[in-house]
């Protein structure tokens, strides 16, 4: 029982992190039609920027996190405006552009910081004990921040004009534009929002797990997986799928260990595609 609850705690924690990543990813896809291959790169960049702020600039960690978000969001904004925007209707081209960006970010990080993991630690240590359940304080802090960010994202998307514009563009771009939504402003904003979220997650999680040039790759794979599961373009689906993925990963690693969990998850998603190609909550995706 204790193991069960322990796994649940881990699962929820992972779920919140994956939700931030998946929501950003699905947002970009739904609104811009862009598959952001650099998503893992922004996560990694968030970690490195936060690390640099703390180690090189001596800033306190919370400021470093904000710095990471600002940096990744700014890079996202600029990249969308000057690179993606030119070819925004060509989905394959934009995917390739983000792939190119990822390779540049990845190699750049490798060049500047080297291949080894950085000494980057979460400022809060220790753990809470609820009965026999062990909850590291750092995980709790990250969970709280993630949930806050999720709530803030929800508020932006459903309670502000910007958010309404973004969702309208995601639903039907032609109609939204006919109603006066300006993609020139909203597209970079959407991309920056997503990359900022990835950067936030990176800044929060890399001090707990690891910070090195390779950490972005599994993030990309998990984002892909989560978004396929939830249904491309569906925000609710992405959030739901993120928690499912987090839970499955937690339980399989606690009870089975090894990479069996990941394998099960991937195969499950693939099977899901057979019976329900739209994912859990997605929309019509019939080819052509």
């Amino acid at each position: 029982m204790q193991q069960f609850l322990q796994a649940a705690v881990i699962g929820v924690s992972l779920g919140a992190q994956y939700a931030l990543l998946a929501l950003g990813f699905t947002l970009i896809f739904g609104i811009l039609g862009v598959v952001n291959f650099a998503h893992g790169g922004f996560y990694m960049l968030g970690g490195y920027v936060a690390y640099s702020c703390v180690s090189l600039l001596g800033l306190p960690y919370p400021l470093a996190v904000i710095g990471a978000v600002a940096a990744t969001a700014a890079l996202g904004w600029v990249f969308e405006l000057y690179f993606l925007e030119r070819l925004i209707d060509d989905h394959l081209a934009t995917l390739m552009l983000t792939l190119g960006l990822y390779l540049v970010i990845s190699t750049g990080s490798l060049t500047v910081f080297g291949p080894l993991a950085m000494e980057f630690h979460f400022p809060v240590t220790g753990a809470f004990h609820f009965g026999s359940i062990y909850v590291p304080k750092e995980n709790l802090v990250v969970l709280v921040i993630c949930l806050t960010a999720l709530a803030a994202l929800w508020a932006v998307l459903f309670r502000t004009d910007l958010g309404r514009g973004l969702r309208a563009l995601a639903d039907d771009r032609a109609v939204a534009m006919a109603q006066g939504m300006r993609p020139k402003l909203l597209f970079p904003a959407a991309f920056a929002l997503a990359t900022g979220l990835a950067g936030l997650t990176g800044a929060l999680v890399t001090p707990i797990l690891a910070l090195s040039p390779g950490v972005g790759d599994p993030v990309l794979a998990t984002s892909f997986l989560t978004v396929i599961l939830g249904g491309l373009g569906s925000l609710g689906g992405a959030a739901l799928a993120a928690f499912i993925v987090g839970m499955v990963e937690a339980y399989t690693s606690v009870y089975f260990g090894g990479s069996i969990g990941a394998l099960v998850l991937f195969v499950l998603v693939l099977l899901l595609l057979v019976f329900r190609p739209t994912g859990l909550l997605g929309r019509e995706v019939r080819g052509a």
């Binding site: 039609g33 995917l95 792939l99 750049g108 790759d217 396929i228 693939l270 595609l273």
Partner: protein, 316 residues
Amino acid sequence: MFRKEPVLGGAEIAALVTMAAAFAIPMITKNVLVYSVLNQALVGIVAAQSVWIMLRMNLLSFATPAFMAIGGYTVAIAGRYEITDAFLMTALAFLLPALAAVPLGALVLRLRGTYFVLVTFVLSQIMQLLLFESESLTGGSNGIAGVPAVTLLGTEMMSNRQVLLFACGIAFLATVITALLTRYFRQHFAAIEENEILAESLGLVVWRYKAVGFVIAAGIAGLAGYSLVNMLLTAHPSSFSSESAVDFIAYTIIGGRGTILGPIVGTALLVYATNLFGTHGQYAQGLYGILILAVILAARGGIAGTAAAAFRRVRG
């Protein structure tokens, strides 16, 4: 008014001539570095052609390493039982991935192009995990070492020169298959690439051609896997990572997606460039990234396409 197209076009013939010329290199020299670069390039060219076939229909596949793994491990496992005949193994290295691609294709090809990309990426991840988890078959994280040499008509191809010649042979075969396929279905693939909806409204059974492309591309990738295992004498999961998919895609895009010469030119140049980095090979990916950005933004036809356009302009 509507003439029949020739079986092979200029680009295809140039590609076949180039791949045939490759055979000369191991006959002329014994330079170890040249052998290494050429062998890497030959493996890469076949893998890039696999990517290129799907790209003809505007579909970007990340599954190349997964199908390479099926081909490569088939050969390695057969090697355990002393089965090394070149013709048999070539056939199996092509057919087994192609067969696997049939149900996978049925699953994946119904979906939109962007879904296709994501799902092929996931397929690569799954293959990696399968390779690690099935120790009894694949040797798990140790892989299968000591893969015996290819036996061609009774001769064991053991020397460096023979290994390289065999790689030339595989690459030539792959080029022939790729050229014939993309030439025969040129109009169909092009129609799907340019305007799938229009093509379908005219009666083209789009999914069928995507399926044929996917299956043959899988077979070609299997051949690349065979060549890779033959070069390394080892089948190891790290040779078939999803990261290598990025390399093959880079070769194709940078080389030029518009012609069969593209994957050949791109692979040759980038493999050579990567070797210039020497021990700092991991920085080569940064170069790929910059080149990809440049090609997509400014030179869509890649190196081959841009060269062809310049040549046309010069000719007037």
